[in-house]
């Protein structure tokens, strides 16, 4: 570290105010530290306002706001002054690109390319200062805004959001005037697409290692509905599918918002892209998004204009601060509940004393102890967050961000200091599947059948099932599991979700807004798994937790419709997002008929109120892995000729045969 920064970093300002217990809980894997190395971020900027009005328009808005501000309000006036300085800086920054492009044009021999450089120069001198007039200018203007935001604070999850909605008018106008052709526009869009992949954010070593990627969370939404509730799918929606289909890049993160009014063609084309196997697009239920946003206090119009930020989080477009606070390890909370607050790894207290295992008389006692441990951890996390957010508010203004999030200008308040129109604090619960299966196993074998005592199960967990192999097998194989459409397990998942949603409402941010439950792990289920002891579902210590709300890896054995039925029983709209991962073999999705069935399956999940689905279409490597680690791939279904079977149930030579066949088809 450069000596100047010793004692002056954001770490140094935040950490002294964090309770010691919270730091311990973070170090021991019960919760995640708050964002310390990157700015909070997590918003979908209002790109539209810059495309339509230019920074010139924002300048006017600021000047109007200044007029309404008393001259002795020094804080506000200097804030407005700072915003104006930033606007000039961004405009100058863009113009320098214009100068450079002109220079390159002068040197260029190829007349066609020369003209392109001159056009670029012209564009960069016009936008983002003035309103965009053409499709190209609109893309250029967007990009300057996006770049400025990323350069400003290295923030998390700066997501384009409802891209097709605010870009389309520029495309439409130019097409109507015969200013461009669809091919030319598609080429521009493809060039633009590549830019997202080159965006490099700075991460500290740990995060970089865990995420293995430079770019992240530039979630670009297409489809959905318009403010008046009518269908929002337009030409740009299809062109984005085309861009991703041609380029197959990891960024932007393409999300399709599917409403009951979305044309089936749109869904089918999205499915055809998903079939290609990049894990994109993710599918979202636009009707449920509106429901969730209105429940969280947005107006109906703002809810319909809303979309997805980051991974799967429901947010307003251009007016919201999601402020995800990181993660709580629900599986660790259960471990503490079963072990009287003692961390099974260290043997030292980490949670509250909620009773020894022999004191549990019924599954209700387990639930109660579990809830107490969750509440304790949420409490610590909340103190941690509050301490961190205060420092961000006081000493880390993000002026560029505040320019493009409503109502920061109007209020004269920074994005980090309560300027946005809406704010939605949230906390992610990790390990839903693992906890559901663990509680179901205890309920079934301890309090139901009486096969084992609570003491015996907890002792086996402490021993990581060493010397308890038979018990582990029974817990792993014979208890009800989430994802098989069995009420025994599914009810526990629903109860866990409701408990978490309700509990979080008791906590508010500095604006008095209650926390939302975000049922995603990002990749936290891996590091959390490492720090979580063996669990009562038969999972061994250190093994990854279940991710999102997906069933425990390899435990969904009754096919995709049962997974959907199970998770369709959860109240998704009460959360701020939930993540469901599904895996398909390419053969299952081959051909038009199968594509339609796949689309029908997605619609059915959304009929049930589901929030999100994403798909892995399985490759040869996965099958090879499945051979090597069959336990993790128990639900991988292989379809051949007249019947299906689970891949890992097939004999080795048949597996080899299936693998070779897959290669033929690729």
């Amino acid at each position: 570290m450069i000596p100047f920064w010793e004692g002056r970093t954001i770490y140094d300002r935040i950490l002294p105010n964090v309770p010691k217990k919270a730091m311990e809980a973070a170090d021991e894997g019960a919760l995640f530290h708050y964002y310390l190395n990157r700015s909070i971020g997590h918003f979908n900027p209002n790109y539209e306002i810059v495309l339509k009005e230019g920074f010139q328009g924002l300048r006017k808005r600021i000047e109007t706001a200044v007029q309404g501000t008393p001259s002795d309000d020094i804080e506000k006036n200097s804030y407005y002054n700072a915003l104006l300085i930033v606007i000039n800086a961004v405009v100058a920054f863009a113009r320098r690109y214009g100068d450079e492009a002109e220079k390159m044009g002068n040197l260029c021999q190829d007349p066609e390319r020369k003209n392109e450089f001159y056009q670029i120069a012209k564009n960069c001198r016009r936008v983002p200062e003035y309103p965009a007039q053409t499709f190209w200018e609109a893309l250029q203007s967007f990009w300057f805004v996006h770049l400025m935001l990323n350069l400003e604070s290295n923030a998390y999850a700066i997501s384009p959001g409802r891209f097709d909605q605010y870009i389309y008018p520029f495309y439409q106008k130019e097409m109507a005037n015969h200013g461009t052709t669809q091919d030319a526009a598609q080429e521009l869009l493809n060039c633009f697409w590549v830019k997202f992949a080159e965006m490099t954010v700075v991460k500290e070593a740990g995060t970089a290692k865990a995420s293995n990627t430079y770019a992240d969370f530039q979630n670009l939404n297409i489809g959905g509905m318009k403010a008046d509730g009518s269908d929002g799918v337009n030409d740009i929606s299809y062109m984005c599918l085309e861009a991703q289909s041609e380029l197959m890049l990891p960024q932007p993160q393409l999300s399709c918002l599917i409403s009951s009014k979305s044309p089936h063609e749109f869904l089918l084309k999205a499915c055809a892209l998903a079939r290609k196997g990049t894990g994109m697009p993710a599918m979202f239920n636009a009707d449920e998004i509106v429901l969730s946003l209105t429940e969280k206090g947005k107006t109906l119009e703002d809810a319909r204009n809303g979309g997805i930020n980051g991974c799967v989080e429901i947010t307003g477009q251009g007016n919201d601060q999601m402020a995800s606070s990181g993660y709580i390890n629900l599986a660790k909370c259960l471990e503490l509940a079963l072990n009287n607050g003692i961390n099974m790894f260290t043997g030292k207290p980490l949670g509250l004393k909620t009773g020894t295992p022999d004191q549990f008389q019924s599954i209700e006692d387990v639930w109660q102890a579990f809830e107490t441990q969750i509440r304790y951890m949420v409490d610590l996390k909340h103190q941690y967050d509050t301490a961190a957010k205060r420092v961000f508010a006081e000493s880390c203004p993000v002026l560029c961000t505040s320019l493009v999030v409503d109502d920061c200008i109007q209020k004269g308040k920074d994005f980090h200091n309560g300027g946005s129109k809406y704010s939605q604090p949230m906390l992610s619960g990790v390990g839903t599947g693992t906890v559901t299966d663990a509680i179901s196993a205890i309920d079934y074998f301890v309090f139901g059948k009486g096969t084992f005592s609570m003491d015996e199960v907890v002792q086996a967990m402490r021993d990581n099932f060493k010397g308890h192999e038979a018990m582990r097998n029974i817990l792993w194989n014979k208890a009800p599991k989430l994802g098989n459409d069995r009420d025994g397990a599914d009810r526990n998942a629903a109860r866990l979700l409701n408990l978490f949603v309700k509990l979080l409402k008791d906590y508010t941010n500095d604006r008095g807004i209650p926390y939302g439950a975000d049922m995603i792990p990002t990749t936290a289920h891996l590091p959390f798994g490492v720090l979580t002891a063996a669990s009562a579902d038969g999972r061994l210590a250190g093994v990854p937790l279940a991710e999102g709300i997906s069933p425990v890896q390899g435990q969904d054995l009754c096919g995709p419709t049962s997974v959907i039925r199970s998770l369709g029983k959860l109240d998704h709209a009460s959360t701020t997002g939930s993540l469901l991962n599904m895996k398909f073999t390419p053969q299952t999705l081959e051909g038009e008929e199968n594509l339609k069935k796949f689309a029908a399956m997605i619609r059915t999940y959304f009929d049930m109120g589901g929030h999100h689905m994403q798909f892995n279409v399985v490759s040869r490597e996965t099958l090879l892995n499945a051979q090597q680690y069959p336990d993790e791939y128990r639900s991988l279904l292989i379809r051949v000729a007249g019947y299906s079977d689970y891949f890992v149930m097939l004999s080795k030579d048949v597996q080899d045969e299936v693998i070779s066949r897959t290669t033929h088809e690729v």
């Binding site: 192999e469 038979a470 018990m471 582990r472 097998n473 029974i474 194989n477 014979k478 459409d485 009754c558 096919g559 995709p560 419709t561 049962s562 959907i564 039925r565 299952t588 081959e590 051909g591 038009e592 008929e593 199968n594 339609k596 069935k597 029908a600 399956m601 619609r603 059915t604 009929d607 049930m608 379809r639 051949v640 000729a641 007249g642 019947y643 299906s644 079977d645 149930m649 097939l650 004999s651 048949v654 045969e657 299936v658």
Partner: protein, 304 residues
Amino acid sequence: MEPDPQGIIFDIKRYTIHDGPGIRTTVFFKGCSLRCRWCANPESQKTSLEIAYLKNECIQCGRCADVCPLDAVHLSDNGHTLNRASCNICGKCVEVCPGEAIQIIGRRVSVKDLYTEVATDRPFWERSGGGVTLSGGEPLVQHCFAKDFLKKCRESYIHTAIESCLHVAPETLEDILPFVNTFICDMKIMDDDKHKHYTGVSNELIRENMANLLRTDQDMLARMPLIPGVNDDVTNLKALGKFLQSHREGARLELLPHHRLGESKYERLGRSYGMVNIQLPSRTQMEKAADVLSNFKINLVKKE
């Protein structure tokens, strides 16, 4: 109250996509009147319940031997052996086996319970134009049960399909006809002697039933598993083409490449597979067969 008829099934597969229109839920009935040597579902052949032993899942804890009242399980260093003759499928070993290495193939269900179990997929059928498919085994071995189940589905406006080898009395077929939307019927070999040799039965009934179905406007897909050296010869293919064409011009036919995916199931059931030396059909062999059939007025269905 009428007693709820019971049947024996051995599996329910969800999201099946090759056994009729839309997303389907396929119920596998136990029992078959044929004994095709290449059968990929040997667990479907006997109507009665059976024990399967999955050696790879066995942790050799010995609990099964401890609880067996008939002393039918014998432990050895290499897993254990089951004396199937003395086993009466009481299921005690299955209950205690921690690794699910011992399984009972087949379970008794009532029409009502089976309907309740599959109808959870109803939203998927409605969205995709799918429904229920009866497979097996030969579903019509359990004729009354199959009929009641099909009837229950049709009364609830659910699309039904049945996969049948058609080796049943014509009256049986007629009896279920009103409750089936789509028939999927196998024709293995046209030559009767060869048919007897490879499947254990004559194909006379099969031909009669298929001809009857083809002559009506009943929705039907004929299928033939293409097995090199058994039924891929030009004579057989021509005979099939001619047969289908003569009873229904434009009859739909699907050729399924033979596969060996059922092989490991034989070992689990303590049986041996009788077709180890059979080659899988190559793409060229499949195309060649399709070429021969393309000379007939039938509709060769391309596999998705």
